[in-house]
């Protein structure tokens, strides 16, 4: 469970960029995060993926109280959070394959496991032929897909994505959203910050809307009924767990 209670956040001694943020995301839920540029979406996401501490208020991420969790337990918690950064943050000296493999490598997975699951995921996001390419040679959309692949390779419990469809065409954006929904069906809690209103209308999920650092009711309403939604593409099959392939539980996820 993700819970924010009266959370405020500021950078250094600057003014508060988030004020009195309170919400709760149930396990396995799917939300969009919207708001104009500068409304505080990226700051809220930074709190969620533990890149920043709140200046006030209480945050609970995956049932861990962020204020009291010891620093040496943060890596384990972070491994349960997949992040798609707005600027991709791919390592420029590593290949596409190595970038996607990074979370598995950090988690201590063997080279055989890494090769199998990274190849599978690269194939799914359409980057199989770019496995050995460096980020500098990839297009914006390809970088985006590599960043998404890296975020989901470890089958996170919480997926946080900052404008994950900002650099891809509509068809691929829909396909990526199906991937996020597939993960969500397997139990991953998903929060996607986006400006793409057509996606928000098409994928009928609740919306958190930020204005000037505060949560306000969303002006958007999903208009596409669930029955009209396109079925997921055939290759959006369930991913087996790359770290604990035989782990029991929903979709092979581990707790």
């Amino acid at each position: 469970m993700i819970r924010f209670e009266n959370v405020g956040m500021r950078y250094g001694a600057g003014p508060e960029v988030l004020r009195d943020i309170s919400f709760e995301l149930k396990p396995g839920s799917f939300h969009f995060l919207t708001g104009a540029s500068g409304a505080g979406k990226s700051s809220l996401l930074r709190l969620m993926y533990l890149a920043h501490r709140p200046s006030r208020g209480l945050i609970t991420i995956l049932d861990e109280d962020i204020a009291t969790i010891p620093r040496n337990r943060l890596p384990e918690l972070r491994r349960k959070i997949g992040v798609v950064f707005q600027d991709f943050r791919l390592m420029s000296h590593l290949t596409c394959f190595e970038n996607v493999a990074l979370p598995l490598k950090i988690n201590g997975a063997g080279s055989g496991v890494i090769k199998k699951y990274v190849s599978e995921l690269l194939n799914w996001v359409g980057l199989a032929d770019q496995a050995n390419a460096r980020p500098a040679t990839l297009s914006g959309g390809q970088k985006q897909r590599a960043a998404i692949a890296r975020a989901v390779i470890s089958r996170p419990k919480l997926l946080v994505a900052d404008e994950p469809t900002g650099n891809v065409d509509d068809a691929l954006a829909v396909r990526l959203l199906f991937l996020f929904e597939e993960l969500n069906r397997q139990g991953t809690t998903v929060l996607i910050a986006t400006h793409n209103e057509s996606l928000i209308r098409r994928f009928r999920h609740p919306v958190l809307h930020l204005e000037d650092g505060q949560l306000v009711p969303s002006p958007l309403r999903p208009i596409v009924p669930l029955r009209d939604r396109a079925p997921p593409p055939p290759d959006s099959r369930r991913f087996s767990d790359p770290i604990y392939p035989d782990a029991p539980g929903e979709g092979g996820r581990h707790g």
């Binding site: 890149a51 890596p75 972070r78 491994r79 943050r89 390592m91 590593l94 950090i106």
Partner: protein, 296 residues
Amino acid sequence: MAKRRGDIPLGNDPASRLLPWIIGFMAFIAALALSGALVLAAFSDRWSAGLTGTLTIQIPPPAAYDDEAGFEALQKEALAAVRRTPGVASATLLPLDEMRALLKPWLGAGADPRDLPLPRLIAVTLEAGEDVDLADLGRRLEALAPGITIDDHGLWRERLTDFMAALQLAALAVVAVVALAAVVMVIFATRGGLLAHRESIELLHLIGAHDRYIAAQFQGQTLFAAIKGGIAGTGMAAGTVVLLGHGAAATGAVLPGALVLEPMAWLWVMTVPMALIVIAVLTARRTVVNALVRMV
């Protein structure tokens, strides 16, 4: 230089590129200083050993120098007394002509050493491992004629040993300063790397890397740099020592054999790169861990 590829591109920043050169320079100075200390130690031992097994007995000339026959009889009695002493391997009266020949350059062409009342010297070689009762010998010689003295070169040995010890201490101080400088340099280089790769480090943290995982990347890079620099620097220093030794031997050597390192001493010199590698790696780890704790 071959490049290694870790998760953080550490070989690409200026501080990382300089590290092997810095460690190489430190290794060169440390190995040279340590070689100097070891050469001095060996030289001091050899010189001291050369003086240890000998004595010089001085028989002063009689007040009435014209009593040549009496003086010669005294010399023979003294020589016999020395030879009878347990522990003495040999005793030789230094020929008067030899002594005069030694003095001639100091007195100039106009002076005749034969006019001088020279003391006579007995060169004594002791049996190895035998203790000679110098007090007893002194008493017996004193009984023959007052003023006969025994010089066991103790003062010489003491001064030589003190001087060599001071030189060795200075050389070891250089080694210690180099080790300290290496620590400081590695800290600066590591901090430079941390600053240059702050974004990569933050990314690794955010996708779940422990501090030790990130520290291991820096350790690996530092280990690689220290091995390259340490071996190259020590190798250069070893080459320099060998060349100096050959040069000293070829020029007739003021101090023959003084610049030659014993095999055991070479082993000590080889500890320089190993010590530098250990110092560098531990310093890098400590620096990184201390810095990471302050990060998110």
